[in-house]
């Protein structure tokens, strides 16, 4: 009985609802319909009154989650697409993120963001927003890349006393399957070595982990052993694991699907050079999406985001240095 990444997300919510009476789910079309991607399928039937359809009011949806969290609930908000969280931006970064620091009262909530590109989705149904939210103090930003992490990290997110932005990747929803849910898992805040290597380190997260793994497989044929670090959480970033990898390989490529200016890759590079400058045998490099909105046509989209072959190309340049 193989489980997809999407089913793992549903299972995690199922388990949270069944074990913690303070959990509820709020979002557009999450109840009877089970959500635009079916991540909450059947949950409203199994947990009547705890999975509620919201009006098209992203600001108020977050406001509700925040208010409920202050009263001890643990709301899970589903945004229909990550891109629409731009309308809840104020409540997330100014209300949820600042609340504990300002008042001493925690604001435990999870915002699920169906993120990232899929062919034909265009500029407003493809965005990655982890770099925006991670900029703000007070938020935890998670970017699971595997079925197991989708499950265990979502459960951990719900249990955390801080507001969590949970960036799940739509491209992985149906593609990615695993045989069973994990019994154990790394804690939030720890990166994972997705593949061991010694010639270069690729630091990445979310769907790009899989592109990077494919690139590493290609380069293995050319005799290079590429280490792949899956950050898992982009705020906090596990600098130790990243630095340890760079210490082994001497070379760093950071890959992200989001826009190139600033963000996760810039942050990782800036940390590595500040604390591990002498570990580097070559200039650390970044590979991101292009600096334009995300194109709708699949031909353009495929050239907009980093792919296995683009990563392999960047790695070859890095290895030649």
């Amino acid at each position: 009985m193989a489980l997809t990444y999407l089913e793992a997300i549903r299972e995690a919510q199922h388990r949270a609802l069944s074990t913690d009476p303070s959990v509820f789910i709020y979002g557009q079309d999450v109840a009877v319909f089970g959500g635009a991607f079916k991540a909450t399928k059947n949950l409203s039937r199994e947990y009547p009154g705890r999975v509620l359809d919201a009006p098209i009011s992203e600001d108020a949806i977050l406001g509700v989650a925040i208010g409920a969290a202050l009263e001890g609930m643990r709301p899970i908000v589903e945004m229909q697409f990550a891109d629409f969280s731009s309308l809840a931006f104020n409540q997330i970064v100014n209300q949820a993120a600042t609340h504990f620091w300002r008042t001493g009262v925690p604001c435990p909530l999870v915002v699920r963001l169906p993120s990232g590109g899929t062919p034909g989705s265009g500029p407003f149904h493809s965005q990655m927003m982890e770099s925006i939210y991670a900029h703000y103090p007070g938020l935890v930003v998670l970017t699971p890349a595997t079925v197991g992490d989708a499950y265990s990290m979502l459960l951990e997110a719900i249990a955390l006393d801080d507001p969590v932005i949970f960036c799940e990747h739509k491209f992985l929803y149906y593609h990615l399957k695993e045989e069973a849910l994990p019994q154990e898992s790394l804690p939030v805040g720890k990166a994972r070595i997705a593949r061991m290597g010694r010639h270069a380190s690729v630091v990445t997260y979310s769907a790009m982990v899989h592109e990077a793994l494919r690139a590493a497989a290609d380069l293995a044929l050319e005799g290079y052993e590429i280490e792949i670090i899956d950050l898992r959480s982009v705020k906090p970033i596990d600098s130790d694991t990243v630095l340890a990898s760079v210490a082994r390989t001497g070379r760093l490529l950071c890959v992200g699907e989001s826009f190139p200016w600033g963000g996760v890759c810039a942050e990782v590079v800036a940390r590595v050079v500040a604390d591990g400058f002498n570990l580097l045998d070559a200039p650390p490099q970044r590979l991101n999406a292009r600096d334009t909105p995300i194109p709708y046509h699949p031909n353009l989209w495929a050239a907009h985001r980093p792919t296995a072959s683009a990563i392999a190309e960047s790695l070859r340049r890095l290895l030649r240095f």
Binding site: I56, L87, R290, D291, H297, N299
Partner: protein, 333 residues
């Protein structure tokens, strides 16, 4: 032959014209839907089935080339009626690089902003204030006659963007027509989970604007109401809220079977097909013959066939040809 007044002739022409746009939109969308199901469409498909009367009536009530029309996801009929070339939808849905968005954006997001038809972003409610800005620009430039129309659904009325824009339009007393197609659902969410007022026209007084309710399945009524609303807006009476009551006769998107729509609701007057009703109306009132309607059907079907055939021959976008520049100035990022 009995004498007929000029007004009656004009009304007949408007009805016949609007009907033909409805028919064209219906046939085009049927074609797109079937192409979608055979895997030939690039991106998502959202259809206006059941909403053609409301949409077309607005489109024909505006002045092409002078007014502003901001369609939403179910306004194929209104777009065509307002003057969108048939090739625009054909090209965008089929992924041609010659469409108005050049493959960068698609389908319902297409527009021709320089010709009074803004290109919508997905975030519901966001286009209403853009139309306000366009109207304020017209006013700045001394054009006091142009009207702007912004289309939204029942669900979009819950957005903060919608509220801010309508309120601002009222303060500025802009010649804005807000067309709300209340099709009873926002995706799967029924109106009782979306708002609690008796009728969305009850919002008009709260903004200090004029409100109009209309049976959205009745073309003649839609035409009358929109012509009135557009005329009021043009005459300086400020924003006009027009709420059409109807039912979405299709899934939210082509991927959705709309199993959540109760059968009983479909059998109410809301569930009537506005296209059939309009055809009947034309025939009953002697404004068209069944043969004429059939002929139009053949004509529009052929127009659709040709547009699709052309679009299918078109080149598709190639990454190599892209500039990959989002700035319009020559600043180097």
């Amino acid at each position: 032959m009995p004498e007929v007044s000029v007004a009656a002739v004009a009304e007949a022409e408007r009805l016949r014209g609007a009907y033909r746009w409805m028919l064209l939109a219906r046939r085009l969308e049927e074609k797109i839907s079937s192409l979608y199901h055979s895997g030939k469409i690039v991106g998502g498909v959202y259809l206006g089935r059941g909403q053609e009367a409301f949409s077309a009536a607005l489109g024909v009530s505006l002045w092409r080339g002078r007014d502003i029309f901001a369609p939403l996801i179910r306004d194929m009929a209104g777009r065509l009626a307002f003057g969108e070339p048939l090739l625009d939808p054909a090209r965008t849905y089929l992924g041609s690089v010659l469409g108005p968005m050049r493959g960068r954006d698609g389908n319902i997001h297409r527009g021709r902003p320089a010709e009074g038809m803004p290109a919508m972003i997905s975030h519901l409610g966001s286009m209403v204030s853009v139309v306000c800005g366009m109207l304020m620009a017209r006013r700045f430039k001394g054009d006091l006659e142009a009207v702007g129309a912004a289309c939204v659904g029942d669900g979009a009325t819950s957005t903060g963007a919608f509220h801010e824009a309508v309120n601002l339009a009222a303060v500025e007393r802009l010649p804005l027509v807000i067309a709300v197609a209340n099709n009873q659902f926002a995706y799967s969410t029924p109106t009782e989970r979306q708002f609690a007022c008796r009728d969305l026209t009850d919002r008009a007084a709260g903004y200090g604007i004029e409100g109009h309710a209309v049976d959205g399945t009745d073309l003649a009524e839609c035409l009358m109401v929109f012509e009135h609303a557009v005329a009021r807006a043009r005459a300086g009476h400020g924003p006009q809220l027009v709420v059409g009551t109807l039912l979405r006769l299709t899934g939210h998107g082509a991927h959705d079977d709309a199993a959540y729509v109760p059968e009983a609701l479909k059998r109410t007057p809301l569930g009537r097909d506005c296209l059939e009703r309009a055809g009947q109306h034309l025939i009953t009132r002697g404004l068209a013959t069944p043969e004429e309607l059939d002929r139009w059907d053949r004509e529009v079907t052929e127009e659709v066939r040709q547009a699709v055939a052309t679009a299918q021959q078109d080149p598709v976008p190639e990454a190599a040809g892209e500039t990959w520049r989002a700035l319009c100035s020559d600043l180097q990022p």
